[in-house]
Symmetry: C2
Subunit: 388 residues, 2 copies
């Protein structure tokens, strides 16, 4: 654990198939006007909406509904929510959904009482939040982003073909009921699983030091692999879905990046693809990772060493009688076999990308500085082309 | 992650060789009267006392000193501190030391404004704390107990030969500078390392479900083993000491017991030994664990299965061509080889225990209900005799 850092994560997690029973107590901490935020209405079909409304009514809250939050929520939608929250003097924002909904709630919470343009101020220029914040809580219905226990909000602008993030504040609490994820379609479930894996890998695949964070990351990956295979066979395997949900939360709540370098290049590449295609986040990550990781293995001996460790510790590759590069590559190939088992997009063409979008994607792609190899713009283009 | 639970750990951790620089900002959150609590004076010899006093003076605090907190702090010492804290109207308690000091601070913080007998009320009868709490912060100088990020306080009564715990509240913040542990004598350092290992094992060695918590526990153990060997060779290996410090914190802040059974029987046995011998905590745990774990392997097929997993995943035992019991035992023996490398007490005679104390220790030993085998009193006696 080299370097100096602070760890502080005050989000309260209520976990389990009775977790929603805790919502009433949590609601007592806030004023009477609650903005209920959700997406396309799947929570009405699966009954979660009714359960949440019943708790809000029991708590005597005045409910302001805001629905229609899309995957890759847009800045225009944020402005709509911020306007409504301010107009109706909302005391508390309750998001019911997956990462898109919770990311959206944070953006609304930090924008409602900000008088300027939040896209410019927060997402493009990372200026500090000084306006009044509306507290946020959430009922999670999809495991993946970890947004329930972090401050991050990812928002898209279609007019600018940009998908950018800003760190607002954590939700005060999160209700994590694994049963609420049972009805997530398989395409979304596996996208969430790969999002989790990518979060862990992007923190793990960097640095050459010996760091407890990496050992925790290995444990999380091993658990995720076991549970993902069970969930694929039986999406209603409570134990498997609960482990996936818990792993998602701990993959991105700052625990496993403490005291170490991180690389977020797969996310940058995937988000650049999503900005042009609106494809599902986890699938865009899967679609670019093979080409990016092969480039790393080609360019960096440190990458080979860390991929070898990953291969042996997480993917159970036997290293005996093989050179490091072979072990590293065998680990990557074993991972890709698992990705195909899950049914992930293995190229960006499957995400809807066209060759003539590559240059624009490269323009939209920030370059991370913490990985084993810092990409040139030409290399970004090369990785994207190799991912077609 | 079967079962329902809440995870909420708001302690703020400032980590690194510059972590003490954060103390001044933290102190701004409290009133003017600070009780500075420490042990036998080692912090004066190694200079940490001067550094902390300088920060307190810079913050304009009025300092009430309370020193002489012993290993295995006594309830009589708690009453002394509680009386002083109340008399001097202390606003904040800053503990500088290891787990004993921090445990002691929590007991004082919860007893200063309680009018009855805290030993009876808290430690013997686990009644809820309803009196005013004095907030606690700490500067950690020894890695092991995890007290810096949990609510637990372990206090001893020599007159009753009892060492009991109560869960008060977490410290608000903890300053974790690995360099502050460099001067800990080897006997104490290895005791801390085995305390950490035992914390992890007591949460890991229980249950038959597939649980992410166990995978995280395996990662923490693997990191601890690597770093403990480096620290043994060079106690000033910053990286190793920092990993040990961080692992200690995460081993007992409730993360790795979420959603699973736990067994705390090694701690109960070790604390019963300490109540009669006043021996160092970590060494008493090491001294009883071999006999207890062998009894588990003899009594429970579930224990054999979990010890086998431990052997393969953490102790790198090759399972090929061996039956489960042999793999499990080989793992335990590999662990004991590591324990001897560290120089831990491998029997309770080395902790100062006498055969005629066994019956009294058994009387002082609570029986845990969450392990692979629930001990009878005769088995407690048998384990202690086998540990002589």
């Amino acid at each position: 654990m080299l370097g100096n850092f602070t760890f502080h994560n005050p989000t309260k997690l209520h976990f389990g198939d009775k977790a929603l029973d805790k919502l009433g107590d949590e609601l007592k901490n806030y004023g009477p006007v609650v903005m209920l935020v959700y997406g396309g209405g799947s929570i009405k079909r699966n009954g979660i909406y009714d359960l949440v409304i019943a708790e809000l009514e029991r708590a005597g809250k005045q409910v302001v509904e805001l629905s229609g939050v899309m995957p890759n929520p847009t800045i225009e939608k944020v402005l709509e929510g911020a306007h409504l929250a301010r107009e109706r003097e909302v005391d508390f924002i309750l998001g019911v959904g997956g990462g898109s909904t919770i990311d959206y709630c944070k953006a609304v919470a930090g924008s409602a009482h900000y008088d300027g343009d939040p896209w410019e101020y927060y997402f493009k220029n990372w200026q500090p939040m000084t306006c009044r914040w509306i507290p946020v809580g959430c009922v999670l219905t999809m495991a993946g982003t970890g947004s329930e226990m972090d401050s991050c909000s990812v928002i898209s602008s279609h007019s600018e073909n940009r998908k950018l993030f800003y760190n607002f504040r954590n939700p005060d609490f999160a209700i994590l009921n694994p049963r609420f994820t049972f009805t997530v379609p398989k395409y979304q479930m596996v996208a969430g699983i790969y999002d989790i894996m990518s979060h862990i890998l992007e923190q793990y695949l960097s640095g050459t030091d010996d760091n407890t964070s990496d050992y925790i990351a290995e444990g999380l990956m091993r658990s995720l692999i076991v549970s993902s295979r069970k969930a694929l066979v039986n999406p209603e395997d409570y134990e498997a879905r609960s482990n996936i949900m818990w792993t998602a939360t701990w993959a991105l709540n700052t625990l496993i990046d403490r005291g170490k370098a991180t690389d977020w290049m797969v996310h940058m590449l995937g988000q650049a693809v999503a900005a042009f295609t609106d494809a599902t986040h986890g699938h865009t990550l899967a679609a670019v990772s093979g080409a990016y990781y092969r480039l790393l293995l080609d360019k960096s001996a440190d990458a080979v060493a860390k991929f070898k460790r990953l291969a042996v510790t997480v993917w159970n590759v036997c290293p005996d009688g093989k050179d490091d590069a072979a072990v590293a590559l065998e680990g990557l190939e074993t991972m890709e076999k698992w990705m195909r088992e899950l049914g992930l997009a293995m190229n960006i063409t499957d995400c809807g990308a066209k060759p003539d979008q590559i240059e624009g994607m490269a323009d939209a792609c920030p370059i991370c500085q913490g990985g084993y190899h810092i990409l040139t713009r030409d290399e970004v283009v090369a990785v994207l082309k190799a991912s077609l």
